[in-house]
Symmetry: C2
Subunit: 221 residues, 2 copies
């Protein structure tokens, strides 16, 4: 049987995993809203971000309460502090899904993404889905190997982000400035989503090994 | 005389203020690098971000150590946790200065900012400078009124951000796609810099009043 501290910590960990599921759903729905110009999906993502924010506050409050009641030290203390940091990163991933949904809503009934870039955005969304799913699994298992794998999958995101810039800067961009601005920001939102997954992964690596991972620098822009 | 706990907490608070000074210098230098196409300034901002990251880790380690040794509860505990969150936000402001410096370096010996937008970027940088200075002062004084004032000054940043979009989407954009992509991202970096100042301010408001501020949503894109 686990003691009270570890039971409470498990509950926090479960809630973080639950939050990754909510964020994964939000990102997937935001992508649908963006590519299919579905207003209801966009509105749903924007509204449900409040639930993610509420869960974040609940986790934060619970972590502070745990620190106050149990006064953990050493590794136990580090685990609670790490959970609080991961909480911030995952909540921020939800914000990025909301940003994408807002672009979708702003351009409705058009899609903000020009035809030649649809496939790249589909792939960015798929990578985002894998990353957030892996993030949840890595939190649940406190698994360093899957945390390191997250960094590798995020390299695919960076590669796709490069493709977005290549399309924008190619000779044959004929979709106007509004689509260019939208696409620049959308690309950035998916890329940042990946960066936060990497940040969570690095926290797990630090927790387990005591060593810091490297911050993802994204592209040179 | 203050007890050991509050002395340690004061030291953390002093270091956070010191970090805002470093970040303010980085942002100011990044803007110079961007507008005047000064490679040495860009390189200096990029290199010195490591110092900001190192100070961030030092503050984090010190906060964890303080929790372990002093086992604070209630308001004392909340103050340490708040300091850790503010630490993350301020470090991220440093990253945004580095992002701007990287755009400057990438476009050297040209400036990434087209002539008609220079004045707007100058003003965004001025607002950024005020915001980070006010953030340092609000941390030092734990002052709710100046924290609330940060939100108002950030409205000026959002207004300038709107101007950037208006210039990009105006009839007479003649600076090409590369400058459009750069400008879109640069505008976003200054705006996010302001958002993190607001996040720190909201933490101070919460600490002092027990009530959450509203998250800055930025623009509808």
């Amino acid at each position: 049987m686990r003691d009270a501290f570890h039971e409470d910590l498990d509950k926090i960990s479960d809630d973080l995993v639950e939050m990754t599921t909510m964020v994964g759903t939000a990102m997937s729905r935001a992508t649908t809203a963006l590519l299919e110009a579905r207003l209801a999906d966009a509105e749903s993502v924007i509204a449900s971000d409040d639930d993610i924010d509420a869960l974040r506050r609940q986790i934060d409050d619970r972590a502070v309460d745990l620190l106050a009641r149990q006064q953990p030290v050493a590794t136990d203390l580090r685990m609670v502090v790490t959970a609080m940091h991961m909480n911030s990163d995952i909540e921020r991933m939800g914000d990025l899904a909301r940003h994408i949904a807002k672009v979708a809503r702003m351009r409705y009934p058009e899609s903000a993404v020009p035809e030649p870039l649809r496939q790249t955005i589909v792939e960015m969304a798929q990578v985002a889905g894998r990353l957030v799913q892996m993030t949840g699994a890595a939190i649940a298992d406190k698994d360093v190997h899957s945390a390191i794998e997250i960094g590798r999958v995020d390299d695919e995101m960076d590669e796709l982000h490069r493709k977005v810039f290549a399309a924008l800067l190619g000779q044959d961009w004929s979709h106007g400035m509004e689509a260019a601005v939208d696409t620049t920001l959308i690309g950035r939102y998916y890329e940042r989503f990946g960066d936060h997954a990497v940040a969570v992964a690095n926290r797990i690596v630090y927790l387990v090994t005591g060593r810091y991972g490297t911050e993802d620098e994204g592209l040179e822009r």
